[in-house]
């Protein structure tokens, strides 16, 4: 094999790998991403010494692409979602995304080498909406279940809700969001979220 043909063969393999990655089964995807992120954090000195900006960078690169923030925002808004204009929806998704990424960063920062147990996926191959179950094992306490609700999209499986210990993140925002929309309208909610995100920037 010449050097050039080896190179193109390698390139072909890489591309095939990229295409394959989109077809990854949801449970494999969760496992790969989790393992990747944990390893990255363990190796990254800046993150271990509390560099939040760096941690958020990692999340944005590694985790974000596998979340459907549009679905998450719509589900968290419930009925109020239809009250928003397309332009407001865009801003809502943006602010909610920022909020969730930071929350995720806090959760990850709290991680300290607990064992993670990946449960076998119970789904039919034709399913387009599945729950991937993971459990965090800790000594002297009941394992904490983390359930990822995932939907199949043209760009692979995407997470649209995370349940920790039976608490759905998306559902937990619903009361608050609906209440704010009733009191202050969709604009009021966007303003609230932006203020929250800004206040966290300063910290």
């Amino acid at each position: 094999m010449t050097l050039r043909s080896t190179a193109s063969w390698l390139l072909g393999l890489l591309l095939a790998g990229a295409a394959l990655a989109q077809e990854l089964a949801p449970d494999v995807l969760v496992k790969n991403v989790t393992t990747d992120v944990i390893e990255l954090i363990a190796r990254d000195k800046e993150i271990r010494t509390g560099d939040r900006a760096r941690l958020i960078e990692v999340i944005e690169a590694k985790v974000l692409p596998h979340f459907s923030f549009q679905s998450m925002t719509a589900l968290a808004m419930g009925q109020s979602w239809n009250k928003a204009t397309p332009e407001q929806k865009k801003r809502l998704i943006e602010e909610f995304k920022t909020l969730l990424v930071r929350t995720y960063a806090s959760a990850l920062a709290a991680y300290s080498e607990q064992r993670i147990d990946y449960r076998p996926l119970r789904a039919r191959p034709t399913d387009t909406d599945v729950t991937v179950q993971v459990r965090v094992i800790q000594s002297g306490a009941q394992p904490v279940p983390i359930d990822y609700s995932m939907e199949k999209t043209p760009d692979g499986w995407k997470v649209y809700d995370v349940m920790v210990g039976g608490v759905s993140l998306v559902a937990n925002y619903r009361t608050e969001f609906n209440h704010t929309v009733r009191e202050a309208g969709v604009e009021g909610l966007i303003k609230n979220m932006r203020a929250k995100n800004r206040s966290l920037d300063k910290k």
């Binding site: 009925q79 979602w81 920062a109 709290a110 002297g140 306490a141 559902a171 608050e176």
Partner: protein
């Protein structure tokens, strides 16, 4: 139970004003928010600093041992609740855990049962009442203890009444153990409260909703049927 519930409600109603547009599950919101603020002050001034010091000074290995020790005592009571709920197999597992952990695990400081694959459960009287079909009742914020409900508040009172730690005769030892357990619990929650701080637009509301979801999940042992949201009408994502 009902009589006690009514009494409690009457007591609470005396001290609170209803707020507009309130959550139907939280008719005492005004009162609850007052207790919540009080708890936050106490937490900031005492509980959090002590728990943080405990976490920073005591090595995590030791903290694990302390947690395991109290968890082992708790398993006796968790087993009793499983039996009360008719979950005899789980109850049997809890007693097996206590047996292994108290002996091989040296008075419970090592959770050998978990390593053997006998997992810890999470039960209390509030969950037992839930299993028996008693609803949560209105949301309640208890002083110091935080989120609860009328049902779980009664449960918590019973939890304390039957607490194995109460069997310790020396008052000084009992108090020290109780305090150590509390500090450990708060220390384990340090990260959770930081995440709450980060996630919530209104901490009170966020915590309340999480409480109801969590308790519902616990009553069903993590297999709660998916909830239907009444305001979840057709949404075009």
């Amino acid at each position: 139970m009902t009589r006690f519930g009514i009494l409690m409600m009457a007591l609470l109603l005396g001290g609170c004003a209803t707020t507009d547009g309130a959550d139907p599950r939280d008719p005492f919101e005004g009162f609850n928010r007052g207790v919540y603020r009080f708890n936050e002050v106490v937490d900031e001034a005492v509980a959090r600093p002590v728990a943080t010091a405990y976490r920073d000074v005591v090595h995590s290995e030791i903290r694990d041992r302390v947690r395991n020790f109290f968890a082992n005592i708790g398993d006796v009571f968790i087993g009793a609740n499983n039996v009360l709920q008719g979950k005899f197999f789980e109850g049997f597992e809890d007693f097996a855990r206590v047996t292994f952990n108290s002996t091989l695990g040296l008075f419970g400081i090592h959770d050998v049962a978990s390593e053997m694959g006998i997992e810890k459960h999470n039960e209390d009287f509030g969950q037992t009442f839930g299993r028996w079909g008693i609803g949560e009742g209105p949301y309640l914020v208890l002083p110091i203890l935080g989120s609860s409900s009328v049902r779980d508040g009664v449960g918590t009172a019973l939890d304390y009444y039957t607490d194995p730690l109460g069997e310790v005769h020396s008052v000084r030892l009992r108090n020290s153990l109780g305090l150590l357990r509390l500090v450990g619990v708060r220390a384990d929650l340090l990260e959770a409260s930081r995440i709450l701080e980060q996630a919530a637009l209104d901490k009170y509301v966020f915590q309340r909703d999480a409480y109801f979801q969590r308790r519902r999940s616990l009553v069903y042992d993590g297999r709660a049927p998916r909830e239907r949201y009444d305001d979840d009408a057709p949404v075009n994502r």
